[in-house]
Symmetry: D2
């Protein structure tokens, strides 16, 4: 076993539905290190009946877990908290019954992120089958919704791009320092963001390697309405942004560069951000003149942020870096779990970067 913890009586019995994807795999990697978690139940349609190490090669030889076919009753019987890390639609179908059975649920798909059910047909090309869950689910960005998360049973874990954008933008917006109509969000993403099961030329090594491209340009990426929903909440009015994701040949990492026109002359923005995030242990505001790199947060739950003012054009440029699979997905989900159970927010998440 990876983990030499002996006392498991009081641990939270946890399951991962969809363990063989990159999000599910990262949850497994982090959960086996968490002192209060007992990972009891892992499911994978593809690897059902095989040891976890067959699905996730990092576990070969040191995990007794076996992948199972997802069964709602099994999940209810054997888990206190279930992470839903499967395909779109899983949470719409399963989150309700799990909650009804008194379980806690953290969904890392997009099923429960948008409050407006009408947005799903537009952005995800599906009708939402459980709109009642949308109001119940707490949007799981702790830096915005910490208090609600402490009492949540159902959490919609945010998108990776969304997390990087919101942490960079919201301090400016809540301080009314920028003209929101000028907001541009330009992001670079590693390839693991596309998941493990979408095969094809787009993620074929020889086509991706040594290349860079933009995609979903012109407001077509599904994280756009999610960014706008939370920005509008912070601003107290409708916000529309231009969001452009780019694919670069790295496995992990998101680097987001935000542009906005300042309303007045700049004040000390580094201090402003530090005050704003004083109680948020995973947001690191860099010193004036420093800029983040994705490698400096790889494998960690940190989001590093650098702030610069272009005095020639009176624009502020904020650059944020995070690991799309940790603060962008699995680490954030565990941060939410910590809040839901009253553990210190950093429990099980104190690792520093896998650097270099």
């Amino acid at each position: 076993m990876t983990n030499n913890k002996v006392e498991t009586q009081n641990k939270i019995r946890t399951g991962i539905v969809g363990v063989s994807g990159y999000g599910g795999g990262e949850l497994a990697r982090l959960l086996v290190q968490h002192p209060h978690i007992d990972l009891k139940y892992v499911t994978s349609a593809t690897y059902a009946g095989k040891p976890l190490g067959a699905a996730l090669p990092g576990f070969v030889g040191h995990s007794p877990l076996v992948c199972e076919v997802f069964d709602l009753q099994e999940a209810i019987d054997r888990c206190d908290l279930i992470f839903l890390a499967g395909e779109y639609g899983l949470a719409m179908k399963s989150a309700g019954p799990l909650i009804a059975a008194g379980k806690k649920v953290i969904d890392i798909s997009a099923d429960l992120r948008l409050k407006d059910a009408g947005a799903y047909p537009i952005w995800y090309k599906i009708e939402h089958t459980s709109p009642e869950l949308l109001q119940k689910a707490v949007y799981g960005l702790p830096e915005l919704h910490k208090e609600e998360l402490k009492t949540a049973d159902l959490v919609a874990n945010p998108g990776c791009f969304v997390t990087s954008a919101l942490l960079a933008i919201t301090p400016l917006l809540s301080s009314d320092l920028i003209d929101p109509s000028t907001l541009i969000v330009d992001s670079l993403s590693g390839v693991s963001g596309a998941g493990r099961s979408k095969f094809g030329l787009d993620y074929h090594f020889s086509e991706v390697n040594e290349s860079a491209k933009a995609y979903g340009v012109g407001g077509k990426h599904r994280h756009t309405p999610e960014i706008e929903q939370e920005l509008s909440l912070v601003a107290g009015k409708d916000i529309r942004i231009t969001f452009t994701p780019h694919l670069i040949p790295v496995t992990r990492g998101i680097l987001t560069t935000v542009y906005a026109s300042l309303k007045g002359s700049p004040r000390n923005l580094v201090d402003l951000y530090r005050e704003r995030y004083a109680d948020d242990p995973f947001v690191v505001i860099l010193d004036e003149g420093s800029l983040p790199a994705t490698k400096h947060v790889t494998g960690t739950n940190y989001c590093n942020i650098g702030i610069t003012v272009d005095e020639r054009t009176n624009r502020v440029i904020v650059v944020s870096a995070l690991d799309n699979l940790v603060k962008g997905t699995a680490g954030q989900a565990i941060q939410n779990l910590n809040l839901m159970y009253g553990f210190p927010e950093t429990t099980g998440l104190t690792m520093t970067a896998m650097w270099p």
Copy 2:
């Protein structure tokens, strides 16, 4: 010998000063394939006395050329045209005497790019020692200055970021379709753009690999005034932009994403760009909905451009891709040479991408 050309009498005798850098090396790679060029003279302080293959490992075993110490009189005696590919300051010192001796000169450094000598102390931290050359030098972007280049003796070859930005922006500006004050230029660059001799952590493999970062944020990059100079020329008024370069872990390639607010409702921009570049063989305007990738132009002199309108925000987003060492440096220099000598613009530059 790399090249089995036998008849060399009527060829242009050419020299590369600073052959061992990435720009100089790429010039050598392309020039030995050019049907009208005889590469006679290559210099390198570091590799003087050694075969070209010692400086440029791609030439090991198949070039008779030997690196020499740069000597002005040798260059004059043995060359008709000299490429200056050395350090900053070389062209300030040497371009004048070479021109005076009746030679043609293409400088690939930044020494002669800015028309305003007063900009050098600000952006390059040096006093310009030959300001009279600045007006004489033709700015070597063929898509903007083709007629002047046909009679030029002295060419200032553009910066790599600048080329990618200008080709993406100028059709919008000359058609008065955008509000220039909203222009944002966001670029991703491969590491070869930093050159071969700047050692240190910034370009050390283990620090750059699997990472992405922004640099020179806030209008600090030296290509900013160069972009603005040429945009202002096209617009007929002063233009200021926000330019943010990013470093990504690829060797070659620049991907530039330009953002600007449209003045009215969008018309068919793809056609507009195609008309604008109808006589420019190296600019490829992609079909509506297509976006460029740097890998699709690697090793070539092409700049591929995709245009999208974000109708939700009425912004236009233009993405351009080029190889920083070819259309961004050496290929463009040879395109300029072709114009200077009345050769077809594409001579020696018809290769398609090294893909995958």
Copy 3:
């Protein structure tokens, strides 16, 4: 058009069957630069009816060619020489009729490489349907079979690993300097060697990137019998080797390290190799103490070779580097074409490395 050649009357009309794979695509890239070739006919089941640029993004915007469905009669009517770059089995079926119609054929699959039809069920799990072609086909390694190639109508282009191994080993074997039973061939390959259409986790960017592994260990790789066939021919007796391929996260390149025990004390092996390859323009023997790197031959038809003796164990270690898609596939095929038509061997293949 990529190519500004105007006079095409006397050019060889050429076709590529299976142009959308990496081998076919590389043939297209190189053939459009060849002065005596007119590429007339390109086929792809996947991209039939679409422009070549849809199949091969490097051609977007600058090729008038359109992909067609392969039709034997079309190939006969419109081509003098046909490259077969499709799936296993294509050449077994089509090479015979093409030859019978007086055409020349170069097959870049493995269909015709092994002289022993009985080897196909063992190594390729298929019965060979045209065993009569196996004796007719000339094995297309010019450094071993140059004279036969000059009169060949049907050429079996060698495997990429095989080329790197044979060029490294045969001088030792023909000079009887080593004990052949000690031969070990250890190769590193870029991912493009696996082709463009095999999708799955094995070539999914996030699984391959930042990793290295061996595969086909224990004499299971299909290039094993091909290496042994040619070594046995050179040695005049049966040779068996251990061959281990490794996958490394680069797109192009094969680096092969060969180990063998020397029979006596070492003599000047660099000179021996240089004499052996004196008439082979694409084999570069490095100076004593120098070792090849794949990047130094990327995009070229060169194979660079370094030779070292481990005096502590009296073993010779030969390291060869080539580009799997050029000297390992398409470049070698064109070298064969040059020999078949009596052109200088280097015609259309004089490019130096895409370096860095």
Copy 4:
């Protein structure tokens, strides 16, 4: 602080001399996660006076440690155990006084690895100044020297290539299954193995990326005598091997492929290895037919091993994969620390791979 441990009274006070290199940095990353360690003292000549985050960007914003200039008395006063992670020569000079002061020392340089002082002038081009330490130092490969390590005060932590080779070879040797004169060790290494401070073309991103090469060929690499020393110890007679390292473009990871001729016909080698390593928690023997990949152990202290017999040549091929900075350096050092202090061997080292 990275670590929310509160009770530090009984923790081992630890120092890292040379914290800003990749070995020192990895020690810091792992030590702050270790439940029984209090990292008190970190030194770096380059970053003296600066926060740890300036030296190691993964620590920016979440470590109170400040880099100091190394001072022997400070180390003695403030630490119970000191890791020496500095340049060659540091341990020769400092290990003696530290031991004399009752401290424990783990040296991760090569200063104390070779038992024969006479080997240093030959392989490291320096005279050993403290030969008396060589016999005192325990060679820190727990899988070979576990009992001695339990009582050691001074440990020479093995080289990264050496660890991968010894774990792969020694079960064959101790079982007398192979002819040791046929042993060949062929290794692939990530670039971080070259360290952080050796700048130059060899580790410049654009020269290393998308390339592979061999180096130190012919028994010139310094890990050769170290491999041979330990193999000879196991075999009870002098063993000489051929060792060839290769550089591949990944940051972390060593993949070693070992070749040897079997003495008789092969038996079940997987079981043999599993028995041999039954008490070694960090050696994972893969199932028959499975082969390791470096990515599957990235960031972990595991060494995964796959064993294959080439029945056509009666050779055994053993492939081992490890992370050069963890099992190859810092993780192994902490494994040694655990043994020295009587902690469970896996304490602080139970993380699974950073995958993908």
